[in-house]
């Protein structure tokens, strides 16, 4: 039996500032629909992929109002070794810290499985357990995390992102993954756009018997 390990795909997207409240509303409402195979999260990831596939206009809808994805970036990177070790411990042992915070940075240093930090991290990490700041859900055999960042977030070229167990720093907690948008980062200007970073870690990319 060959079994390939977890794969990580990440999208970063920006939205006009005027739509920031709709973006927050979207995730506040999605939080009411549960954390397993949530249809609004599924729709969100579908629209990310549509935008990436050169669809001219990609729209999300909440309460009969629509808002548009302005800019998109996508990358396929890897979960970290320490992150997967923590996942294994979470499966066996109760009471460990959960994946909760999403951070972004501006470093394009190539990702490696052993890394445990962002190399140009900026601003405050999004607390994905707070409705409106994102979500942590399961979609079939994937963990899907979304962090939303407000228009007030400092100006940055979003080139890297990661999911953490801790709100700040790199010594106390664990980093699950590191994605780098080296060739296609999205630009964020303070008070001009809001943005999201969305990660899909698929634990069953290829599994066969024989």
């Amino acid at each position: 039996m060959l079994k390939y390990g977890p794969k990580d795909t990440c999208w970063a997207a920006s939205y006009d500032r005027k739509d920031e409240h709709l973006l927050q509303k979207y995730f506040i409402k999605s939080a009411t629909l549960g954390r397993e195979n949530n249809p609004m999260i599924t729709e969100f990831f579908n629209q990310m992929e549509r935008k990436w596939n050169d669809q001219k206009i990609v729209i999300l809808e909440i309460d009969s109002k629509t808002f548009e994805v302005v800019e998109i970036a996508k990358t396929k990177d890897i979960p970290t070794i320490q992150g997967l070790q923590h996942c294994c411990r979470q499966i066996i042992i109760a009471g460990l810290a959960v994946w909760r915070y999403h951070g972004v940075g501006s470093s394009s240093l190539e990702p490696r499985a052993y890394q445990q930090r962002l190399y140009g991290e900026a601003g405050t990490r999004a607390d994905m357990t707070v409705a409106g700041q994102g979500s942590v859900t399961r979609s079939n055999q994937s963990i899907r995390t979304v962090g939303t960042f407000p228009a007030s977030f400092p100006t940055i070229s979003v080139k890297e992102s990661a999911v953490f167990t801790n709100p700040t720093g790199y010594t106390a907690g664990v980093m699950l993954n590191r994605q780098v948008f080296a060739s296609n980062p999205i630009g964020h200007t303070v008070n001009a756009t809001a943005f999201t970073v969305a990660t899909d870690i698929n634990f069953a990319s290829v599994t066969t018997w024989g």
């Binding site: 039996m1 060959l2 079994k3 390939y4 390990g5 977890p6 794969k7 990580d8 954390r35 397993e36 396929k76 990177d77 890897i78 979960p79 970290t80 070794i81 997967l84 070790q85 996942c87 294994c88 411990r89 979470q90 499966i91 066996i92 042992i93 109760a94 959960v98 994946w99 499985a113 942590v136 859900t137 399961r138 079939n140 055999q141 994937s142 963990i143 634990f203 069953a204 990319s205 599994t207 066969t208 018997w209 024989g210």
Partner: protein, 211 residues
């Protein structure tokens, strides 16, 4: 240069021991549970590999002096429902952890990711996990079979880890021993109704990041 496939695999062992060694096996499992000393599990799995390499007629002894009488190994398939439950545990939407080994005489069909239960299982045969440990990106699960013939089947063709003892519990993985299932000698010691050979089942599941 010969291509060597070094990708990660999940696998499982099934080892048979002498009846006299059952207390020592149970003591070994207790030490693993209490100390979380995964080197004991690593030694067990390593010695299973050695036994497979040297053949069933050569003696291989665990670090604690117990001799493995026979061993078989097979690939192991983590099923979709099992992965989903793992993710539920990771994100905290479930707290029902892996707790039992299911074993059955079934030897068909080949495992598929869509499996949700063993094929020919009697849930009364389920064994509580003797150990379940996470080491690095691997998870180790093990169980020791009962000595009572009403609880253990005489031939184990397939096995898997469940998160409960009742029907309907979630299956994590399915291991199938196609044609190499060692029999547990039901009457080897002459006392009808008591199995002579305790069996230890051990499964290893590994996550490894890939680009």
């Amino acid at each position: 240069m010969e291509y060597k496939d070094s990708r990660p695999r999940d696998w499982a062992y099934k080892a048979v021991f002498s009846q006299k060694d059952l207390p020592s096996l149970q003591e070994m499992a207790r030490r693993i549970r209490e100390t979380h000393d995964a080197s004991i599990i690593e030694d067990f799995n390593l010695k299973c590999e050695q036994k497979l390499a040297v053949g069933q007629t050569s003696a291989v002894v665990l670090d604690n002096g117990i001799e493995i009488q026979a061993v078989t190994k097979t690939g192991d398939l983590v099923v979709n429902a099992g992965l989903q439950q793992c993710i539920n545990l990771i994100i905290g939407t479930s707290s029902t952890r892996w707790s039992h080994f299911g074993i059955s005489i079934g030897s068909t069909p080949a495992p598929a990711v869509t499996n949700t239960a063993l094929n020919a299982e009697n849930v009364a045969y389920r064994l509580s996990l003797a150990w379940n440990e996470a080491v690095g990106m691997r998870m180790f699960f093990g169980a020791i079979s009962s000595q009572t013939d009403s609880i253990t089947p005489s031939l184990v063709g397939e096995m898997g880890v469940y998160n409960g003892s009742a029907a309907g519990a979630v299956l994590l993985n399915r291991s199938l021993f196609l044609s190499n299932a060692p029999k547990i000698d039901a009457t080897g010691d002459g006392s009808s109704g008591v199995y002579a050979a305790p069996m230890v089942v051990s499964a290893v599941i590994e996550f490894c990041p890939v680009a």
